[in-house]
């Protein structure tokens, strides 16, 4: 187990290094860094001084090492647009994105598990078929278009829900959150639903497939033969066994929720990391782009690692120590 964790950590470091190299080369070699980093009104002398000051006259590998050292010290440069450290900017926006992603995940699980169980227990019923057709739609509908339609129906026509922003935030342990006030919840409802749709469909399908498979297993037959109530058979024996793949996928999907939040945040003007990166790309705020990419890659590596570890805890059959990677 320990060997596995160490190996995975090493692997993660390699991926992170590779990504930092890619981002570095992308930002510093494709575009001319002088144009990006130095005020265009500066005269020739200023430019040369700036090039020296920024170390741009050194060979690329040396520049990369400098970049890496600064990155490790938590310094990824200052945002051009806001003139504050890029990292600080992103960390400030992170709670909003995490709140949105968590809310979406909760919606997907709370609705998806029962619906999937229902469809799995009665696959031929009208309800079961309706649920499955709905889940196919959930896969096919382009997220951003659904978001627009939600705004059209609930904000423009019905006027029930606000179409943009987070609303008033309340401090929870020093972190601003929306879900503690009614107004904030109203702001959260549409973006979270929009973001949840794809995962809702996914959870429904996984639960249904898992349920159908589990119902055929000997342990379910045995539980029924013992005379256990249907609720206990489904609630304990079936649910426990289908939990493993569902937990894995949900964990992995949490990362993609954060990535897809880019789209949802742009539509609903939700002030999170995703909106920040799109705004930064539009105004070519390179330090923020670099910082965002490095942070999100780190986040992903951590999530992937945690999911793998969680998987081994949940499923004793997976012997990680033996797994050759």
């Amino acid at each position: 187990m320990l060997v596995y964790v160490i190996r995975r950590l090493l692997q993660s470091v390699v991926v992170l290094l590779a990504m930092s190299l890619l981002v570095f080369v992308g930002v510093y070699a494709i575009g001319n860094p002088v144009d990006i980093l130095i005020n265009p009104q500066a005269d020739q002398e200023d430019i040369e001084r700036a090039i020296k000051g920024l170390g741009l006259d050194k060979p690329l590998w040396e520049q990369y090492l400098v970049f890496l050292r600064q990155a490790l010290a938590g310094d990824l440069g200052k945002s051009f647009a806001f003139n504050v450290p890029a990292i600080q900017l992103i960390v400030e926006r992170m709670p909003a994105t995490l709140e949105l992603a968590t809310a979406a995940m909760l919606i997907a699980i709370v609705l998806g598990l029962p619906l999937g169980l229902w469809a799995g227990l009665a696959p031929r019923s009208v309800a079961g078929r309706t649920i499955m057709t709905g889940s196919i739609l959930g896969f096919s509908l382009p997220t951003f278009w659904v978001g627009l339609m939600l705004i059209m129906v609930f904000s423009v026509h019905l006027g029930w829900l606000p179409s943009n922003g987070r609303g008033p935030t309340t401090e929870l342990l020093g972190v601003p959150v929306s879900f503690l006030s009614w107004e904030g919840l109203k702001h959260l409802a549409m973006p979270a639903t929009n973001l949840a749709l794809f995962n809702l469909a996914l959870v429904i399908r996984l639960t249904r497939a898992g349920t159908r498979e589990a119902l055929l297993q000997d342990y379910v037959k045995f539980a029924r033969a013992k005379g256990l109530s249907n609720a206990r058979v489904v609630g304990v024996h079936v649910l426990k066994n289908i939990a493993i793949p569902i937990v894995t996928v949900i964990g992995l999907q949490f990362g993609s929720l954060i990535a897809f939040a880019i789209v949802t945040e742009t539509i609903f003007a939700w002030p999170g990391m995703g909106k920040l990166i799109i705004d930064s790309i539009n105004v070519l705020d390179r330090p923020v782009i670099v910082a965002y990419l490095l942070i999100i890659v780190t986040l992903f590596i951590v999530i992937n690692l945690l999911v793998d570890l969680l998987y081994s805890v949940l499923d004793p059959r997976v012997r990680l120590a033996d797994a050759r990677t």
């Binding site: 096919s140 382009p142 997220t143 897809f260």
Partner: protein, 331 residues
């Protein structure tokens, strides 16, 4: 296991007859069906077509997709106006409701007009052209790259295989949209750049699929027979191995075309994909977003419906193909 539509590789036949004792069991069914084809009996293609037609939903999907394809190809012919010829646009016609008549009374805008007085129906026809074009060409490029790398991995094995698959694994652990976003943030806008981004996102799916299929096929006797006949490696790979690995790849490719179209639309909506001169469906939707809040729904709504119809029709076809081409469901 058989493959659709292709004439079977003749080498397989020779190899099969050379090792006839083995071939009776292991030669691809296509070999035996070559004789059947001459008598107008069941060919793999016909069997697949018949199986495919079992599902009415899939047939409807196919019909819808063919209709969309026809519209995309014929857009310049069937569109009521050329939406990008400024001479044909009249600003006075801007933001008209669906079904409204143009100011000069000559034209009816069935799906309304956008902020520049452009007929939405024509804009959607042209948008479909770009969306489908980008989706299909990106898929073909990704397919070529993924097939090459996957086959190389399976056939060469060893370090090459490990390297290719490790890169694919790492890449697949990140969501497609994130990778595309990183690339486009670095590369900038443009039709070629979005295709590069889509290829970079998708090749790994094909590489994985073809590799796993090739590993199974490689250990079968007809490959062994071909190797015994001392055929050159390139011939074995491309004429024997590849055709028999195609069915799962075809299924993945159909679904990935839909995914590519959806991803391109999303990226264009975010303003990262295609430039304003190449208005795909995503860009049309993005353009209408501004007017959504004032109740002018049609500028975003109808391009979205077209996008949805395209994606759903491709997915329906892909779903049925998966069942039809799945060797486990056949004898």
């Amino acid at each position: 296991m058989s493959f659709p539509g292709e004439t079977p590789p003749r080498d397989a036949e020779i190899a099969a007859s050379a090792v006839s004792a083995v071939s009776a069991v292991s030669a691809p069914p296509a070999v035996s069906s070559v004789i059947a084809a001459g008598e107008g009996e069941e060919t793999p293609l016909r069997r697949i077509a018949a199986d495919f037609a079992d599902s009415r939903l899939a047939l409807a999907g196919l019909a819808l997709f063919l209709a969309i394809l026809a519209v995309a190809v014929l857009a310049p012919v069937i569109s009521p106006q050329n939406p990008y010829d400024l001479a044909q646009l009249d600003v006075l016609d801007s933001r008209l409701e669906p079904g409204a008549r143009s100011g000069d009374g000559k034209q009816v805008f069935w799906l309304g007009t956008d902020d520049q007085g452009r007929d939405m129906l024509s804009a959607i026809f042209y948008g479909l052209r770009i969306s489908l074009g980008v989706g299909v060409s990106a898929t073909l490029c990704a397919l070529a790259l993924g097939l090459t790398l996957g086959l190389a991995g399976a056939f060469l094995g060893g370090r090459v295989d490990t390297l290719i698959m490790r890169v694919a694994d790492i890449q697949l652990s990140f969501p497609a949209i994130l990778i595309a976003l990183i690339l486009l943030a670095l590369l900038g806008q443009g039709i070629d750049k979005i295709i590069i981004a889509l290829v970079a996102v998708q090749w790994a799916y094909y590489a994985r699929t073809v590799r796993s299929a090739a590993l199974v096929e490689r250990s079968k006797e007809y490959i062994e027979a071909a190797t015994c006949l001392a055929l050159p490696a390139s011939r074995i790979v491309f004429r024997h191995l590849l055709p028999n690995c195609l069915p799962p790849v075809i299924v993945v490719a159909t679904v990935q075309v839909a995914a590519a179209i959806a991803l391109e639309a999303t990226l264009s909506f975010l303003g990262l994909g295609l430039p304003i001169t190449e208005p795909s469906l995503g860009l049309l939707i993005s353009n209408g977003f501004t007017y959504m809040l004032s109740g002018k729904y049609w500028i975003s709504f109808f391009p979205g419906v077209a996008l949805l119809a395209t994606i759903v029709s491709i997915n329906l076809v892909g779903d049925q193909l998966r069942d039809v081409l799945n060797p486990r469901l056949q004898i």
